[in-house]
């Protein structure tokens, strides 16, 4: 006869407040196989765990049910406890009487009844549990970082410093990301390039780091410790080995009408181009859509002038497949398109710009050499209006419901930079709320108001009317209830941040989930902020939600630490709850092989003795390393030969029966 122990947790008043623990204990004592039932205030505490441990030994328990919070919370904890007590960890089941019971129901009698039913189901299931032993898998000690912005750069440097190989895959021709475009950084106003470019150089020279620019992730196979990643390196049309980065080709290129992505379209670039002078790698790329040679077959001037003979028009995309133990996703963010915000006249007036465009306009390396002028007529503006929350905190389909988090700070920065350099320019900031939590952040914003004389107006802008050379801004001061008209020369819009267009698609390739805004979902909003639900894949930076640079860097180092922790292991423990074929029953139809998402089921031939006659037969076989334990095959199996350990047919039916009693 089995010896099952039931432990009921009060969780303080969380459970005991609505569930009559005594009654649950009494009922559990009557359940078949149960020899011991006991309660405690906090079962997950050290004292509670000791109670479980000691009881297992004293009562010689061979199975344990913990009635407590969700197994997603503490199943792992109690399995460990059992293991310490010498019991196989898979002989533990958790009955969820908190999230699924005491927190839902207010009627004590009802809740108690349900708690008993849930405990009964767990007891019925655990009675059929078997000891499971987890297998081991090796770990490829190399990490992949997707995205070469500041998040990816920091992650890669940290992992490389720990002594592991890292590859960075970056979509654009150079690493650097959004931070490379930015002029100054808040709240210290140090120059962005001055702190970023040294890190970019570190990345490019680190012996453990490999950079794949102009490359995209194509598909991902495998699992934690053993990801197999295929990427597509787009044809650069320039030989990376031969190119010496002299820049003659970009100078001579006759096609100079393409909009520079790096300059946010404020300047044109040639068809063969390096995005910006500090680009890494410092090797140009030919934009085939703009290149005359590719469009008409004539030209090839770059090839003629290249002193190194590095131009290769015939280059083709190459596929690279490599194995990685861990993956860090750091693809960053974008800002929303403003074509739906017609009232701000962004699409039909050049002097209405986004904040990112403003960064380029004030940047010493930007299209105006850092001189603040209106894009339309290159005159110095006299009045600049900033509008915050353009599309942020917006419930309509044209905006985003969340706060973009960085705009309050960068707008204060922009206004401050203007007032610092040109005290004669008036600046106005329209805001809904100023949100500046963060070290030295609010002080920064107050400085803009108090020392730099930036006019903050609580209220929004209704419409911007182009009015000759001026922009007539109609706003409101919500505090006094005055409507406001400003004849501005320039308007800067703080457009909402958004997830990258391809985030969802990438998420699908990696089997990690995205939220309703297409930001990647962390495994736990508080306690697992850099992990995803997929083991071995971590998140860094703004692809998980809007973030500023300090936060991004902190998370990047966090993700790196997690990846290092994983890579430092020689072996990983497998999930033992995987499929198993009963060869005696298997008919060899192999229906299961077709539905397995991991190609974990193959066939094999077995010989067996049929009343003295030796015959051969095809049966299915499960690859223990590949199977992830979804259980889809068990349903496809007509004879019922495949079952999944930990969730066997018998176990689930026992639960059904127990619940329906």
């Amino acid at each position: 006869m089995q010896r099952i122990g039931v432990f009921v947790c009060w969780c303080g008043t969380n459970i005991a407040g609505t569930v009559n623990i005594e009654k649950v204990i009494a009922a559990a004592g009557e359940m078949p196989g149960v020899v011991y039932a006991k309660d405690y205030q906090y079962m997950c505490s050290a004292v509670g765990q000791n109670l479980v441990k000691n009881t297992i030994k004293e009562q010689k328990l061979d199975r344990v049910v913990i009635a407590s919070c969700s197994p997603r919370m503490h199943e792992a904890t109690f399995r460990k406890t059992a293991k310490v007590a010498g019991l196989n960890p898979y002989l533990v089941e958790v009955a969820n009487i908190r999230e699924h019971c005491s927190w839902i129901h207010k009627n004590k009698e009802e809740a108690t009844k349900k708690a008993i039913a849930l405990t009964r189901a767990a007891v019925a299931k655990v009675a059929l549990n078997t000891a499971l032993i987890a297998g081991e898998i090796g770990v490829e000690s190399r990490a992949l970082v997707i995205g070469g912005g500041i998040a990816g750069i920091q992650t890669a440097l940290d992992i490389a410093e720990a002594g592991y190989e890292v590859d960075i895959i970056e979509k654009s021709p150079s690493i650097g990301g959004k931070m490379a475009q930015i002029d100054k950084t808040f709240p210290t106003l140090d120059c962005s390039a001055c702190i970023l470019t040294p890190k970019m150089v570190d990345v490019s020279t680190h012996p453990n780091i490999n950079i794949y620019t102009y490359s995209e992730l194509e598909n991902v196979k495998g699992y934690v410790g053993n990801f197999e990643v295929t990427m597509n390196q787009r044809a650069r049309s320039v030989n990376m080995e031969k190119c010496i980065g002299c820049g003659i080709c970009t100078d001579k290129c006759p096609s100079k009408k393409a909009k520079s992505e790096f300059e946010e379209g404020l300047r044109n670039r040639s068809a063969i181009y390096t995005p910006f002078p500090q680009a890494i790698p410092n090797v140009p790329v030919i934009d085939r859509e703009a290149c005359i040679k590719f469009k008409t077959g004539k030209c090839g001037l770059c090839e003629t002038v290249c002193p190194a003979g590095a131009i290769e028009f015939s280059q083709e995309d190459t596929k690279i497949t490599k194995k990685y133990g861990a993956i860090v996703v750091a693809i960053g963010y974008d800002i929303i398109a403003l074509d739906k915000f017609g009232e701000y006249a962004y699409t039909n007036h050049q002097d209405v710009i986004t904040s990112l465009e403003f960064e380029r306009l004030t940047n010493a390396a930007g299209p105006t050499g850092g001189k603040l002028v209106r894009p339309s007529d290159h005159k110095k503006p006299k009045k600049v209006v900033f509008v915050q929350c353009v599309g942020s905190r917006d419930k309509t389909e044209r905006g985003k419901t969340y706060c973009s988090k960085i705009c309050c700070m960068y707008t204060a920065k922009h206004a401050m930079l203007i007032r610092d350099k040109y005290p004669d320019i008036e600046t106005y900031v329209f805001y809904i709320d100023v949100r500046t939590p963060g070290k030295n952040f609010d002080e920064f914003h107050r400085r803009a108001v108090e020392e730099y004389g930036v006019n903050y107006i609580k209220g929004m802008v209704g419409k911007i009317f182009p009015d000759g050379e001026k922009l007539q801004v109609h706003g409101v001061d919500a505090l006094t209830g005055d409507t406001i008209k400003i004849d501005a020369d320039m308007v800067v819009l703080a457009a909402a941040t958004k997830a990258k267009e391809d985030a969802e698609d990438l998420g699908r390739k990696l089997s990690i989930s995205t939220d309703t805004n297409n930001f990647f979902t962390e495994a736990h909003p508080k306690l697992k902020p850099v992990e995803t639900h997929c083991a071995g894949i971590y998140l860094a930076g703004a692809c998980q939600g809007p973030k500023d640079i300090p936060e991004t860097v902190a998370q990047a180092s966090g993700a790196a630490a997690k990846a290092i922790g994983l890579l430092s292991k020689d072996k990983l423990v497998n999930n033992p709850c995987i499929s198993e074929v009963d060869e005696k029953i298997c008919s060899g139809c192999l229906a299961c092989t077709k539905i397995c998402p991991y190609d974990a089921i193959t066939s094999k031939v077995i010989t067996f003795n049929d009343h003295g006659k030796i015959t051969k037969r095809v049966v299915a076989q499960v690859n223990k390393a590949l199977c992830q334990g979804c259980g889809g095959c068990t349903v496809a199996c007509r004879p019922g030969a495949i079952d999944i350990k930990g969730f066997t047919n018998k176990q689930i039916l026992a639960e059904v029966d127990a619940l329906c009693r």
């Binding site: 419930k395 809904i432 609580k458």
Partner: protein, 136 residues
Amino acid sequence: MTRVKVIPENKKNIIDKIIEMSGENIRDCMQCGKCSAGCPASDGMDLLPHQVIRLLQLGQIDRIVESKSIWNCASCFTCAQRCPRNIDIANIMEAIRLTIIRCVGNSRLKADDVPSKVDCKMPQQAIVSGFRKYNK
């Protein structure tokens, strides 16, 4: 200035009625003022649209009823078109107007007054609209 009570007990019913009639959730409003900033009829208003919503949120219905703003609203839907919180402010204005004019004798535009307000060029559309908006 006198101290006011937030959502006075005796105003709860009428506010609920206004919310129901308008079909809008006034709690969505975060007072950004975009409606007021763009309102083409704001010139003659003593309360701006966002202030009307704020007073509704606080239950100060009397101050709204006394104001001329609700009658200045031309239902042009500029505010509704741009509201980042998806509130159709025109619906709320209408609901407030209706709670007033639906009381017997409260019509703002009396049939007898119409001839004096109309000239020979005024389109029927204006008269019918005026009646629908100001008379019950």
